[in-house]
């Protein structure tokens, strides 16, 4: 109809809306973090701003907005400004290929078809991995451009850490690619719809992937780059105001991206949770996925399921953070290179053997 509108304006608006939703999720993820950890630590958590403290994230954002935005004299100003932007943009961009509904949940607004994902790239997984690894530049450059010793140490730590964990992070996915035979995230979920959640076929890969994801997000117990008891605040020690907020956003969006990836790759993305009862009651999956009510209902249900699963994964993040002490730098490297990488390689071999065995049995 109007190619310009359909291929440029509509995806642009879609992307903006997606980003805004993501930012809102981050805001309430911080709230959830504070509340959940507070309850684990026999505290109450924020409860002053708004009903039950629900407006606390808004107040935090406003506080960060009106704070003075300092730049150290000795800093490299340009890189100091660009670093948080790189960190944030790369993580937001990773979200473009994550589906929150199946192609059948495509709705039309003003005659334009809106698919429940920004893009279905046939190399989706590679896209996510490569985009999210750009984020490390933001952190390294931020630490270096501050021209200060603690940020420098924090930046170096995170560079080493993120590069080390990128490897098992990628290797853990290879099993999924081998089983499903596709790198498109939408098709991977569709494969799971026809067969079963990949979690049942790749349980060890889930663990490896999640651990590597936590490490790559610099979250506890791998939060060395910003280990506050050692490096004050790590790479963002010199950052304040909204530049700091950007780093903060990057960290939390990266958490959401990793959680969404785990959900998409291993836990059936937008597919409903049927607790294994799908075979007993054949109508249950259709009922829970909203297939009875047209694309809008399916979209809502799909988003709901993604949302629930993602927040469950995020809850795991918080749970881990409240429970474990922090690793030391060399121990972290040991785990990465001496355990994670060999283990993920071994898992690839095992997966290959399994696939061959299944083929042999079938033929």
């Amino acid at each position: 109809m109007y190619p310009v509108l359909q291929y440029f304006v509509v995806p642009f608006i879609h992307g903006v809306v997606l980003t805004l939703v993501l930012l809102l999720c981050v805001a309430y993820l911080t709230f959830m973090e504070r509340k959940v950890i507070a309850f684990m630590q026999v505290r109450i958590g924020p409860n002053r701003v708004g009903p039950r403290g629900l407006l606390q994230p808004i107040a935090d954002v406003v506080k960060l907005l009106i704070k003075e935005d300092l730049t150290p004299d000795a800093a490299n100003r340009v890189i100091f400004y660009i670093a948080p932007v790189i960190a944030t943009l790369s993580t937001i961009a990773a979200f473009a290929v994550i589906p929150y509904g199946g192609p059948e949940a495509t709705v039309s607004i003003f005659g334009f078809p809106i698919r429940p994902y920004l893009a279905d790239v046939n190399v989706g997984i590679l896209y996510v991995i490569s985009i999210s690894s750009i984020g490390v530049f933001g952190i390294v450059l931020g630490g270096w451009a501050s021209n200060s010793k603690y940020p420098l140490l924090g930046g170096l730590r995170s560079a080493a850490q993120m590069i080390s964990y990128e490897v098992p992070f990628g290797l853990a996915i290879i099993g999924v690619l081998m089983v499903t035979g596709t790198a498109s995230l939408v098709e991977i979920v569709q494969w799971q719809q026809q067969h079963t959640w990949l979690f049942w076929l790749q349980p060890f890969a889930v663990v490896l992937f999640f651990i590597a994801g936590v490490a790559e997000n610099n979250r506890a117990p791998f939060d060395l780059p910003e280990a506050e008891s050692e490096l004050v605040a790590g790479f963002h020690t010199e950052y304040s105001g909204f530049k700091f907020a950007f780093f903060f956003l990057a960290e939390y969006i990266a958490m959401i991206v990793v959680s969404a990836l785990v959900v998409t790759l291993f836990f059936g993305g937008w597919l409903p949770v049927t607790f294994g009862l799908g075979h007993l009651f054949p109508k249950l999956p259709a009922l829970l996925s909203g297939a009875w009510g047209g694309p809008w209902v399916m979209l809502l249900f799909g988003m709901g399921w993604v949302f629930i699963k993602v927040f469950f994964m995020l809850y795991l993040y918080l749970w881990i953070r409240a429970t474990f002490p922090r690793y030391r730098y060399d121990q972290l490297m040991n785990i990465g290179w001496k355990f994670m990488i060999p283990a993920s390689l071994a898992w690839i071999v095992l997966t290959g053997a399994g696939i061959l065995a299944v083929q042999a049995i079938r033929s």
Partner: protein
């Protein structure tokens, strides 16, 4: 063409992990420590000099401010030294009450140590759990003397008052729940793989070096020396109670952690015995209104504070003010061990070690 150089960074005096205003000058080779130089004095208030210009009784509140996490232990050392100087015999009931309070203080102090040590190593939850119980200790102290931090809860010759009504019951309730709480901490830490990785083999010090550096308290006992003033030079009526001195075998951070956990249980044991056999009688010996020890008299009195051997040396010049008051603080001596302990370790270990030697800067700087 490429070469590495050592990096010198300043840790503190404003740093989240230096427990106050300790400043460490670290020389690093990458992340490995080449040298640690503690720089102290940021909290120096001249307590020893101030004490020379006050009457003997007015010094006690100053001692509160030395080790503000275990103010009672400091009070105890000073008051004990004055009593020794005057040759005053403390009534048995007051002695037992002092033991109760001193051991309660040890529990409170070890709890705050556990909280901050855990937090430094990244275990955030343990911080709040330990503070929950410490709060109850503070409530008990508040119930006894009205203050929560700077107690001034002793008088020369005894204790100022009886335990208030219901106080011992509250204490017993606290002691009843303490073992389950300690077990709770231990489930979070003792067997935790990360905790053990971070503490085992970190800051190993052998008994000889530890003794040579003048380390005392749990820091020394971690190396296997069972030196505890309560056993070696018993004061008050510690002789009457059965308790064990936990010692470590390897002398690493993990041993020191286990020792302090065990000491909390032993303190509980002592308090229960003391409450059981609380003698009757007066709580305050007769001491002259104006304390004027004979000229040239001197006294040295040691106690086992939660952090180690806390002793006070007093010299009198015959007036009503001490001629010289010297506080031998365990924190100061234990801090001396830090450069030895942290040699060859990594930045993150320094943080663990500061927690492990358990210093309070008020006590280091005096």
């Amino acid at each position: 063409m490429y070469q590495t150089s050592e990096l010198e960074i300043n840790m503190g005096p404003q740093h989240p992990a230096t427990h106050g205003v300790l400043r460490l000058v670290l020389r690093l080779d990458g992340e490995t420590i080449v040298e640690v130089k503690p720089v102290i004095g940021y909290l120096h208030r001249g307590v020893e000099k101030l004490s020379e210009n006050r009457g003997y009784r007015s010094v006690t509140p100053l001692t509160d401010r030395l080790d503000y996490c275990a103010a009672f232990a400091e009070n105890h050392s000073y008051v004990g030294a004055v009593e020794k100087l005057l040759g005053v015999e403390v009534p048995p009931r007051a002695q037992a009450m002092r033991v109760v309070l001193a051991e309660l203080q040890r529990i409170a102090s070890h709890l705050i140590w556990l909280a901050t040590h855990g937090l430094d190593i990244g275990a955030m939850t343990i911080f709040l759990y330990a503070f929950r119980e410490r709060e109850k200790c503070l409530d008990l102290f508040e119930g006894y003397c009205g203050a929560r931090l700077t107690y001034n809860a002793l008088r020369i010759g005894g204790v100022p008052q009886e335990f208030p009504d219901g106080w011992t019951e509250a204490l017993r309730r606290f002691l009843d729940e303490l073992p389950t709480r300690i077990a709770q901490y231990e489930t979070l830490l003792t067997g935790n793989r990360i905790w053990r990785l971070r503490t085992e083999g970190v800051g190993v010090i052998d008994a000889r070096t530890a003794l040579g550096l003048g380390l005392t308290g749990p820091t020394l006992r971690g190396s296997g020396v069972d030196y505890d003033v309560r056993k070696y030079a018993p004061y008050e009526n510690y002789r009457d109670y059965a308790f064990d001195i936990p010692v470590g075998s390897k002398g690493d951070t993990y041993d020191r952690y286990l020792i302090r956990m065990e000491e909390m249980r032993q303190s509980r044991r002592i308090i229960l015995q003391a409450l059981e056999a609380l003698p009757d009688g007066p709580i305050l010996a007769k001491v002259a209104g104006r304390i004027r020890p004979p000229k040239g008299a001197e006294a040295y009195f040691m106690t086992e504070s939660p952090r180690g051997e806390m002793s006070v040396y007093l010299v009198s010049d015959g007036t009503d003010k001490p001629y010289r008051v010297r506080f031998r603080s365990p924190c100061f001596n234990n801090l001396q061990g830090l450069p030895t302990l942290s040699k060859g370790h990594m930045v993150a270990d320094v943080v663990a070690l500061i927690g492990s030697i358990d210093i309070v800067l008020g006590c280091v700087d005096r």
